[in-house]
Symmetry: C2
Subunit: 505 residues, 2 copies
Amino acid sequence: MIKNILLLMLLAVSAAGKAQQKRPNIILFLVDDLGWQDTSVPFWEETTPQNRKFHTPAMERLAKEGVKFTNAYATPVCTPTRVSLLTGMNVTAHYITNWTSPLKDNPTDAADKQFLPPHWNYNGLSPVAGVPHTVHATTFPQLLKEAGYYTIHAGKGHWASNGTPGSNPLNLGFLINITGNGAGSPQSYLGSDNYGNLPGKARWQAVPGLNEYYGSDTFLTEALTLEALKALEEPVSRKQPFFLNMSHYAVHDPFMPDKRFFQKYLDKGLDSLEAAYATLVEGMDKSLGDIMQFLKAKKIEHNTIILFMSDNGGLSNPGYRSGTSYIQNAPLRSGKGSVYEGGIREPMIVKWPGITKAGAAVKQYIIVEDFFPTILEMAGVKKYKTLQHVDGRSFVPVLKNISFTDNQRVLVWHSPNKWVQEDGPGINYFSAIRQGDWKLVYSMRSGTAQLFNIKNDIGENTDLSAANPQKTKELLNLLGMRLKNKKAPMPVDAATGMPLPYPAQ
Amino acid sequence: MIKNILLLMLLAVSAAGKAQQKRPNIILFLVDDLGWQDTSVPFWEETTPQNRKFHTPAMERLAKEGVKFTNAYATPVCTPTRVSLLTGMNVTAHYITNWTSPLKDNPTDAADKQFLPPHWNYNGLSPVAGVPHTVHATTFPQLLKEAGYYTIHAGKGHWASNGTPGSNPLNLGFLINITGNGAGSPQSYLGSDNYGNLPGKARWQAVPGLNEYYGSDTFLTEALTLEALKALEEPVSRKQPFFLNMSHYAVHDPFMPDKRFFQKYLDKGLDSLEAAYATLVEGMDKSLGDIMQFLKAKKIEHNTIILFMSDNGGLSNPGYRSGTSYIQNAPLRSGKGSVYEGGIREPMIVKWPGITKAGAAVKQYIIVEDFFPTILEMAGVKKYKTLQHVDGRSFVPVLKNISFTDNQRVLVWHSPNKWVQEDGPGINYFSAIRQGDWKLVYSMRSGTAQLFNIKNDIGENTDLSAANPQKTKELLNLLGMRLKNKKAPMPVDAATGMPLPYPAQ
């Protein structure tokens, strides 16, 4: 009898221990500006010349061990994506429709003759109420932390402008912050430049907190990885589940060569600019590999979920990459800043040991705000309160059944700002909507819409609006209603001083 | 029988829980450059005009609730003190005999005609072997962390130069680092200056990581306090014992007024420079009060030890404070940088609830490396291994018995560097030794010694060496032996290129 009771108690203790261990660790590996084709993993139905240009063996391994999403979306630029991810809100709801300045109260809109800037939240995300021009929302790292997760942010933050609480990741639910602040790019990737921290030369983009590596040949991507792994020692050693937001500055410009990989790409025949870009990609991939190796060495590989994602399409504007502009994400059209696929479709991979089917591909379209409910579901956080309505939907059902299909779901993109001085394809003052294989692209400047069948025409080359007026009208109407329901910001007509009307309303 | 077993098990569980809770939290409140008299708490036998100048109600409260040490010592400048504290090593053992530059491989010695710099560890403390010009040692925060403490560093680091691992507090045993790096002072105390992080104007001293407060009127001391309390939420919420290294930049120069307190001191008749200095002091004191209030609000006051200390004497060189130089620490002689009492005697208070006798004063002399074994003993960390020999001695016996007396103990100070261009009293190329009430001050420049009876002559005004040749010889010999045994660095004779011989050897 006593024996039985003791046994029961032991079993109970053991079960409790096991249950605690069972909560998975979660790593979100978020890359900056990585285009859909900037990897040796083919996300399209065929391997492209771009795929052959890059060398990303860790991504290949992750794709083999997990599932790749071939229709994963973000927003066209970074802050909107990052805020959608952290809050589960669509861009039409959080009103952070463009990137936020490192300096608060400083809208980043380029000047325009036709339009004045929309009334958007140019100070970004705020964890506290009453900060002007911010969205006040609950973040999932905060909910994870409250549920007992050890939450680490490493790398680029860029959720809000400096001078506001949201610029400090420690206010957004992270226990540990490595370098994150209001800046959206690094002044320098080089340890020999102190990552920009040079007396008299430091700008807003100087990367803080890596003083240990000053004057060394440690590339920024490597330094962040080392610091992230250092921070992981604590939760791993006491078996506390962790969430790591591994948020690389790479592959954002400045395109500085990572010397560890540079010669290889020069030897391959790339010019020095493209070779430099390729080294940023491979350095990022090495970080992924190092993290996967760390998980293996710590014997927590089997209980750690990895989500790989990029925040927007690859940069394709004139003056940055070599060759013709806007073709860097081919077969997709345009690039960063655009609502065409090149600006929003992302290389995404998810490995959930025991759940995802190794090497599979998921065709269901998802969007970046879906990470919010997904990650919480993965962590077993079921009942939670948020200040905001969560627009995202968990893609756990998709992970559990890769043939899961929902062609009725509506996705919306909305960029009522002038991101760059020179308009490009789908760049500056555009919205878009996708439902099933249909996608409509709306230009606020001209008030016109294009219709594409994304499945048949991934390059968005053939405008079907004239041939399908009914579908065009239907989607345009739906887009207008969505924007109106969310009271999404619209550009202001310079002539009248009034915001543009919503399309078809 | 079953009941008994269950009861025993419950008792065991409960005892374990209680034992865990019982490990005290420890806060080291370390102020920078705070002189012995820069407080309304009198550390001498009488209240001085200096005491009446400053307003430090939180220190008064802490002194009432804890014990004050009237013979507590540090080294004359910051890095040596900070390394002694973290490693338990005397300055003669760690060879970091002067402050370290924010830039590695950059000795901070001023030029001199008579001497070349000694061979000292000008890159500071290192947690890893093989870093040139560093001391490789085990830190007590590392041992606390390994023993299960949640270790937080907030504020000034300055243990090692940037570009070396020791410049990152995360490598020195801290789980959390708030602003600490290789710099020894803040570029600006003002949020409106972004603490120095102004594009094109930032210097090595720009304070990293406080971007949330950029453009605000949050004084640096306040921002650090807010961030430290934020970091404390985590261990407090899960009842993990913590160690907080609350290491203020205040009251180091630049002497910028903290507007919250400025008018009060102007009204008191202080000139604007002295009033500014007094606001740095009061801002620091407010931080102490806020932390004490936090402990009370969290109901952990009864189980939290507070150790208050400064890292060296008050700055008294020409060109910084108002009035005559070298009298700012009166009745003590000289100030920061000096081996006279004004450079090394510190305002120190310890409150250990349930142990220290409220409002008592301890006369036993102690030195900053004593904090190492003391804090480990307080935390119940008994068996530990260190790379270095620990020179410090635990002052727990003194805390338990305030009349504890050891007049045989020998303390040594050693400054073989040229700290500032202009020699001052006890400043540049001096050593000192204390045993009981006797103190000998040795000038390397002149090769001469002075002897003082510290008890009768706290101002070190009367040189007794001629009257007491035997005592002088004895202490000089002891000093020389101590230096020789530790192979302490000595200045190099510019004429011969050879290090000076140790005194009396």
